[in-house]
Amino acid sequence: MSLFPTVGRKQLGVRISWWLVVAFLAFGVFMHLVPFYIMITTSIKPATEAMAMPPTLWPKQPTFAAWGLVLKLSDIAKSVLSQPLSKYFLNSMIMTFGTMILSIPVTSLAAYAVSKLIKGRAAKNLFIFFIGTLMLPGIVSLIPSFLLTRNFPFPLPVAPNIPGTDVAFPTLRIWNTYWAVIIPAGFSAGNFLLFKGYFDGIPDSIINAARVDGGSEFNIFRRIILPMSIPVYAVVAYFTFGATWDSYLWPLVVIQDSAIAPLTLAIRRISDAFGAAGTTNPLTAVGASAGISELVSQGLSWNGLMVLGLLQAIPTFIFFIIAREYLLKGVKIQGLK
């Protein structure tokens, strides 16, 4: 409450503009809640009502039919989804938690060292080395990275031969495994910035006092810094979870086997199949697979896609509930300098 004058708040002009601000903010909040409302209500509508014009505000006959059908989607339409939905959910979980377990310690230890342990020119150069990629368009490394997952450490479609022989160099192949999503995300420049901003705010005197008491740098980090830094860890964990859980282009490139595909790719497939069946948009109907026609006749349309959307949204939502207290305490970012 610092922009509005402290004196003269009762004046009509000030009051009107105050309520205009409130209305603007309340409208924004309201708009933000609309998607949740529409997705939830649509998911409990019957198929025909989900495609009714005009749209209904609340389902006339609420039913959980769409939820049931979506959960056993792979039984009815094997051609669309080869695995049960829970399998894709599990795949996403493995990739997301794998990324978090690898990336958070690697990134935070580096940020701590650059912030507190390494001084002078070395720290400055390391900082640029770590966040430099953030200021460059990362898309340029998409294809070399994809090739690296096939023939590490050669970013080539085929590994070169050992000179003078016909034998190719041995390479490490993580393509089409969970590791292809987890390992390239081992260090995150954005999270590095968040960690460093937070560690910079911890006074050096605390660390120096601990040094006088003895103990290795790692123990100081574990016993003193870590407990003080829970907010930033919560924020980074939440961000990492959200980003990996929702990742789309990278899994599309490196995951081919549908048995290990994440939920995002499964949703893409289902949404495509419905589009092809003309259920979602009659103009794009090009012919439905037998499985999809069966699903449609049992009453699945947009209500089913909303169920899928909600299933995809729930884990991030839960993580948000856990991390919400820390959101503001953990972000102490001061730009790129």
Binding site: G132, A189, L305, R324
Partner: protein
């Protein structure tokens, strides 16, 4: 060590300053080595290699040979390439113009609310809807036959039926609209604003500064480093857009929403690895031009 059985152990003597420092300094690198390896192999290395790879034929089988600018020449004669760049530029610039400023204003205004109201509003605002879920939601709303937007256009506003995402002319605009109407404050802006001491505003008020004056001379200058950072990331990010247009329209109708990255993906799927990399390098160059212009504009920071 439980409290009861505590034995007082002799503390290791504090190492002599010289020896201690060097020993520590060596061990400090253990903290950064894993990150250095990851950042090198999955950050810098593929980025630099991309330029070399774009100059080869990069066949799926067989030996890689150097081909000079052959890939670039081939792309230059592909009519879909300038089209994709046009889409990318319009989409990127339009989305920054229409969606970048509103979160800053919202964050500044949100700070005016009483603390409790602000907390509730913030939590509601930051309720996350997963990106993939929201594309399904927007597809539903944009549906030409029974979407809510069509209902609003025909029944409420009395307009003729709209084509929305099937309109070649307006599809990019419709793809940006969700970003405008779902306005909210940015977390980084709120974090930055909370760091401004109240006394600044009080002093300004004593000096006779009004509402706008305070925003212009206190809030915005203090947010400047954060705004400059988020603007840089939005420029880079919006010109590399893939997920949202891909899920919403698959690049249609007739490529009217096919961004450069989407075309890269198509080339990659067709096994044209060299061409796809060359296209990525071209996009890289374009974005770097924007980044350099941005740096020139934002160079002089009065606070430093």
């Amino acid at each position: 060590m439980s409290v009861g059985t505590d034995v007082i152990e002799p503390r290791p003597a504090v190492p002599a300053v010289e020896g201690g420092r060097t020993r520590r300094r060596w061990l400090n690198w253990l903290f950064v080595i894993p990150a250095i390896l990851f950042q090198f192999f999955w950050g810098w290395y593929p980025m630099v290699i991309a330029i070399f790879l774009s100059l080869t034929n990069a066949p799926i089988r067989g030996a890689v040979t150097f081909r000079g600018i052959e890939n670039y020449v081939r792309l230059a004669s592909d009519p879909l390439v300038p089209m994709a760049f046009r889409v990318t530029l319009i989409y990127g610039i339009l989305s920054i113009i229409l969606t970048f400023i509103i979160p800053i204003i919202t964050a500044i205004l949100l700070m005016e609310m009483p603390p409790k109201t602000m907390r509730v509003m913030m939590i509601l605002w930051f309720l996350p809807l997963s990106g993939i879920a929201s594309t399904l939601f927007w597809q539903y709303l944009y549906n030409e036959k029974f979407g809510i937007f069509q209902y609003i256009a025909t029944a409420v506003l009395g307009l003729p039926p709209q084509a929305f995402l099937s309109s070649e002319r307006l599809v990019l605009f419709w793809l940006i609209v969700p970003g405008i109407i779902m306005y909210g404050p940015g977390l980084y802006y709120i974090a930055g604003l909370q760091g401004i001491p109240k006394s600044y505003y009080e002093a300004a008020e004593v000096e006779g500064a009004g509402f706008w004056r305070k925003i212009w001379t206190i809030s915005l200058p203090r947010l400047r480093p954060i705004i400059s950072m988020t603007l840089l990331f939005s420029i880079i990010g919006s010109l590399q857009e893939f997920t949202f247009p891909d899920l919403m329209t698959r690049g249609g109708p007739n490529g009217a929403s096919r961004t450069v990255v989407m075309y890269m993906f198509t080339l990659l799927n067709n096994g044209r690895i060299g061409d796809s990399t060359a296209l990525a390098v071209m996009l890289f160059a374009l974005i770097m031009v924007f980044v350099l212009v941005f740096r020139l504009v934002f160079k002089s920071d009065p606070d430093v």
